[in-house]
Structure formats: C-alpha cells, structure tokens
C-alpha cells in the first residue's frame, strides 16, 4: 500500500520538485531503529549465532557415527580442563576428540563437554521455540475469541455440551469405554441436531425444553477471562514440576507442559488489542464488505495486534529456556543420556571446586542466550511501540 502511495505522490505534478521525506519501508525503518539500539542489536546477533550453533549441534552430534560424540565415555581422561591435549597413549583411535583437543574440557566420565554443549543447544532451542509456539497459538485463539466474539453469551446447552464431551473423552481415555462413547455420541448428535435446526429447519419457535436450554448465562469474554484467572492461581514452576514429575520423562512432555502453562499473558494482550481494534473503521469496512468473521480476525486484526505478542513471545522463549534448565537441574528434564545445559551443570556441581568449568560453561551459555532473548525482546518493544521510541 505504502509503496504505491509514494509512487502516486511522485507522479502528482503538484508535489514535483518539492522536498519529500525519504522513502522507507516498514522493514527499513525497523532495521534502522534496531541498529540504533545497541543492546537489542547485540541480542539479535547472539540469537542468530545461537540458532546456527543449535542446528550445527543437531547435525554434528546425532546419527550412528556423529562427528562429535557426546556420549563417548573415556574414564582415563576424566575432568580434564578446557583446551587440554588428550593423552594419546591411553586412547583408542576412535576415542580421540575430533578437534584434537578438549575444547571445553571433559566431565567426570571423560565425555567431551564441547560435544555435550552442542547437543544441549538444540534442546534449549527447541524447548524454547515449541513451548512458546504452543503458548502463542493458544493465546491468540483464546484472546481472539474473547476479544472478537466476547459479547456473545454462552448458552446452557453449550456448557452442558462441553461438560458432556470432556467427561466422555476423559472416560474414554480412562477406560470407561461404553459410557464414554455414549456420552460423546450424545454430544455429537446434539451438535448435528443444532446445526440442522439452524440451517435447514424453518421452525421459528422452539419447544419449551429447548428454550430452557438456550437460556444465556455469561458472556464468552467473561468465561475465557475466568479461565485465565484460574490458570493464574497455580504457582507456575511448581505446577510444571509436578506434571513433569508425574509424566514419563521426555523432551516433548516438557515443551507441551511449559506451553500449556504460559499462554495467559498472550491471551490478555491479544484480547486487549482486539477490543480496541474491533471499534476501528477498517473492521467495520471489512464487515460491510461481507468478509467472514474468522478472516477478519486472522487477516485483518491479528496482524495489527502482533506487536505485543511478538515481544512477549521473545521474552517467553527466554523464560522457557530458563525453566527447562531449572527442570534439568533438578533432575526432571530430558532423560539422562541426552545432554542439556541444565543437566551438564547439575552433574558438574559436585566438582565445583575441582572442575569449575563444568559449572561455568553451561551456566554462562544459558545466561548469554537468555540475556540475548531478553535484550532483543525489550528492544523489540521499544521499536514496535512508537510511543516508547524517543525515550532512549
């Protein structure tokens, strides 16, 4: 839009020869502001570097014959400091580290810390991104519904339907197959029935029982905000710890659990943005053109509401990485043969006086990555919000 506007302006004879503002696309402007904010720019640089390291880590440490083997145990070479030469006389040819030296030393089993750090980088990256991805997805959908359809009431039959479907599904999973299936069946039949009534049945007046079921209770907005309130009552780290401890240990469980417990902030941001956007003229125009509700939400409103979501997502990645490291540290993280930064540190803490690098290398790595995400997120907040721009 902007591009064509500027071209129109240039062809306009009235403005010919007049001084004009420099043409600048949104990305150019973003880039210029980012360059000026030195902390945020270095955050982005570290983030990009970390991204490549994590990918390299995935490629180089996996497969049957990895380039850097994070699981190779050399008991005769344990607790060697960083940059020390391997003792070639004691090692089999395949046990010699790929780079010829132990770049970051070895741990108490003689495993190469450099290889383990590479492997751990990928875990941190995926946990951060997938957890935040889940959280942002739930947040946008819940916030979108609550901000756009918020005024619509929830009817009694909706509540009954939801209870029936969830109890039925729960029973089906828990083993009560027959009752669960019957309840799910009733719920499905009711959905079909109400769709049929809405679309094809010409009947205007409903029977008495149905009218009772159609009684309004609370608005959708209230419902979703109460759900957010309920979720905010849980102590987050404690809840995550409980669930992760009860479920079988795996990386995917951790991502999903962190994601499912951190969507509340995004929901609130999206809702607040949509509530103000809903009253704007371009939404009214889209409605007048007959654009569908979901298209208005996702094509017209969400892109305008993305700024706070992006900021909170960037900072959310930092806190997800911290939470994962904390879980690994407590021994609830990714199961043992796989290295993560948290469990390298947790294994190394017993040797803190003899082998401080086992604590400091993963600790500094977590610190730098988390700091980079936080700095970039805060910078993004300043850049995307014109009101804050001149504060620096």
């Amino acid at each position: 839009m902007r591009e064509t506007d500027n071209k129109e302006l240039q062809r306009d004879p009235g403005t010919e020869g007049m001084p004009r503002a420099r043409r600048e696309s949104r990305w150019q402007e973003f880039w210029r502001l980012l360059r000026r904010n030195r902390l945020a720019f270095s955050g982005l640089a570290i983030f990009v570097f970390f991204f490549f390291v994590a990918f390299a880590g995935l490629v180089l440490t996996s497969g049957p014959r990895p380039v850097f083997d994070p699981a190779m145990v050399r008991l005769q070479e344990k607790l060697r400091p960083p940059l020390s030469e391997p003792n070639l006389a004691n090692l089999l040819p395949e046990e010699i580290p790929t780079l010829g030296v132990y770049v970051l030393g070895t741990d108490d089993l003689g495993r190469d810390v450099f290889a383990r750090m590479l492997q751990g980088a990928w875990v941190s990256l995926t946990v951060g991104f997938v957890a935040v991805g889940i959280a942002v997805l739930i947040g946008i959908v819940m916030g979108g519904i609550s901000g756009y359809f918020g005024r619509n009431p929830v009817r009694i039959d909706h509540i009954l339907l939801a209870i029936m479907a969830s109890v039925g599904g729960g029973l089906l999973l828990a083993g009560g197959t027959v009752v669960g299936a019957v309840m799910l069946g009733i719920a499905g039949a009711y959905i079909v029935f109400s769709l049929w009534r809405k679309k094809w049945s010409g009947k205007k007046t409903a029977p008495k029982l149905l009218r009772l079921l159609h009684k309004d209770t609370i608005s959708i907005d209230t419902l979703i905000m109460r759900i957010v309130d309920i979720m905010l009552c849980f102590p987050v780290f404690f809840l995550i710890l409980t669930v992760v401890a009860l479920l079988p240990a795996s990386m995917y469980n951790i991502m999903v659990v962190i994601g499912l417990t951190s969507w509340m902030g995004t929901t609130r941001f999206v809702r607040a943005e949509l509530l103000s956007l809903r009253e704007q003229d371009f939404v009214t125009a889209a409605k007048a053109l007959g654009v569908g509700d979901w298209r208005i939400i996702f094509r017209h409103m969400i892109p305008n509401a993305m700024a706070p979501v992006l900021v909170s997502a960037t900072i959310g990645i930092a806190s997800a990485i911290l939470i994962e490291a904390g879980l690994s540290f407590l021994g609830f993280g990714v199961p043992p043969p796989h290295a993560t930064w948290g469990n390298i540190l947790s294994d190394g803490k017993r040797f803190i006086f003899d082998a401080p690098w086992l604590t400091f290398i993963p600790g500094l790595a977590i610190l730098i990555v988390v700091l980079a995400f936080n700095l970039f997120g805060e910078g993004l907040r300043d850049i995307l919000n014109p009101k804050l721009r001149e504060r620096y």
């Binding site: 309920i230 409980t242 009860l246 988390v370």
Partner: protein, 319 residues
C-alpha cells in the same frame, strides 16, 4: 464499594473451586499411582497396597475421593502419605522456616529497587541509567542455580564461612554472637538469590512509572515555577509514581509459599519450596494438593487486597 467486595469474594470462591477441581484432576489422572511407587520393596505386599488404598480412599471413584480429600483438608485432618504426619502441621513448620528468607528477600528487593529505579529515571539515558538497565537484564536472565554456585564459591573462598543449611551442624557451645553471625551468614545467600529477580523487575518497573510521571504537565509546571529539582522529583513526581506499587503489597503474598524450589534445594533450606520438591519426588499427593490449594488461596487474597488498596489509594478508580 461493598457490592464490589461482595461480588469479588463470590467470584474468587468460584475460581478457587475450579482450581481445586483442576489440581485434583491433574494429580489423579496422571499415569502412575502412589500405591505403585515402590513395587520392588518386599515389605510392600499386595495386602499392604490394598490396606493403603483403603485407608486413603483410593479404591473409591474420583469424585468421592475429591470430597473426602477436601473435607479432610478443611477439618485439618489430612495426613501425609509418607510419614502419617498431619499435613497442616508440617506445612506450618516449613512455613516458619521460609518466613525469614521471604522477609529478608522482600526487604532487600524493595529497598534496593526503588533508589535504583528512581535514579535511573531521573538520569535517563545517562551512563548510570544504561548501566542499571544492563545489570537488571543480567540479573533477570541469570539462572538462579548458576548464580547460587557463583555466590557460594565467592563467599566460601573469601570469608571461609559455611553457607549450606540453616545453621552449621554441631555449632552449639559457642558464644551467642557467633551463633547469630552463623545464622546470618546462612540466611544471606539464599535471600540475596531470592531477591535478584525481584530487584531487576521492580527497578525497571519503578523506572518506567517514574518516566511516565515525569512527562506529565504538572511536573513541567512545577519545574517552570522554579522549584528546586529535588522537590520536583521527590515530592511531585515520585509520590504519584508510587501509586501502582501500593497494590504490589497484595501481589507479593503468593511469594510466601511459591518461594523457590531450586534455591531451597541447593542450600538445603528446610522451607516450603523444598518440602514441595520432596513431596513431588515421593508422590505425596496430600502435601502437593495442600500446597497448591494454599498458594491459590494466597493468590486470590493477594489480588483482592491489591484491588481494594488500589481503590482506597486512587480516587479515580471506581469499580
């Protein structure tokens, strides 16, 4: 005002009920049962498992268990599965241990965050401001467990004092002063660690509130009148910037119990967080659920207090 209080109490009770249901479901629908914790233990015969299940109503359907559990909790009869001690008594003991940590950490947070935040707002863009900003990001990003080990290394190497636990073991026949100093040394590190994130977040928040107020017209008027800048900053600006922080007294309350699982387990501090961690390891459901319930109650009371305080302090708010 009264109608607001009544409405919000009812709303919070409903929220609490759903929290109770949800936490109960999460715990009980997760795979594994407490009676399967130790299947290899020869003393844990099937008859014992059966007796255990009966004693704790585990053979009943879920909704009956739910009613039993919360009836016991409200009448104070819930007992831990691990050692048959009453849960409330155990929580009470641990709570008293966590309390000094929480208080010292809170005092540190509030006394450090305000001067730092106010000064960096006044010197906006200057070297002090940029340094404070960077350090607050650093403190916010540093993993607590890593920072804990750095501090332990520093303190142990520099002062040669033991810091793990609540007091040095077998440190009984020494003078009162040394006992007190020993207690203080043990208290310092965990409370500093508990305060770091708080200092970082709060000082940033103070800074942005202060900046917001310093841009207002009445501050410019005060300055234009020729008032000394101290008076403008601390009397006109700061007072109004402090408004939102009154409400944070309420929001602090949940910190009492959430504490820090990680820090208390590093320092072997027998507080709430460590008890929660041990309960999770032992699958001691009554303790997990009770802690969850109490902390949900604290969150709700905290938000309630902060809403009411806000109404009292800020005459513009009318709910």
């Amino acid at each position: 005002m009264l109608s607001f209080i009544g409405r919000s109490i009812i709303q919070k009770i409903i929220t609490l009920f759903f929290v109770m249901v949800l936490s109960f479901l999460i715990i009980h629908l997760a795979p594994g049962e407490p009676s399967q914790v130790d299947p290899l233990n020869p003393k844990f015969t099937p008859e014992m498992v059966e007796r255990f299940r009966k004693a704790f109503h585990l053979d009943e359907p879920l909704h009956v268990q739910f009613v039993y559990f919360y009836r016991d909790l409200f009448t104070g009869k819930t007992i831990s599965w691990k050692d048959n001690e009453p849960v409330l008594k155990k929580i009470g003991e641990r709570f008293l241990n966590s309390l000094p940590l929480f208080m010292v950490a809170t005092i540190l947070t509030w006394t450090l965050a305000f001067p730092i935040g106010v000064r960096s707002a006044i010197a906006r863009g200057g070297a002090y401001d940029r340094l404070a900003t960077f350090f607050s990001y650093l403190l916010y990003s540093i993993p607590g467990f890593f920072f804990a080990y750095i501090l332990i290394l520093l303190v142990v190497n520099a002062f040669h004092v033991p810091v793990i636990g609540m007091k040095t073991f077998g440190f009984t026949d020494v003078s009162l002063l040394r006992t007190i100093m020993d207690r203080v040394w043990h208290l310092v590190l965990p409370s500093v660690l508990g305060a770091t994130v708080g200092i970082a977040v709060l000082s940033r928040y103070v800074r942005s509130q202060m900046l917001e107020v310093e841009d207002q017209d009445y501050v410019r008027t005060a300055r234009a009148k020729g008032l000394p800048s101290e008076q403008v900053h601390y009397k006109h600006a700061l007072r109004n910037a402090l408004l939102p922080f009154v409400t944070m007294f309420g929001l602090m309350l949940p910190g009492l119990i959430g504490g820090s699982v990680i820090i208390e387990s590093i320092f072997s501090w027998p507080g709430m967080g460590r008890m929660a961690y041990e309960a999770i390891l032992a699958r001691d459901y009554p303790i997990i659920l009770s802690i969850n319930f109490i902390s949900a109650v604290l969150v709700l009371i905290g938000t309630f207090i902060s809403d009411v305080l806000y109404m009292v302090v800020d005459p513009r708010i009318r709910l």
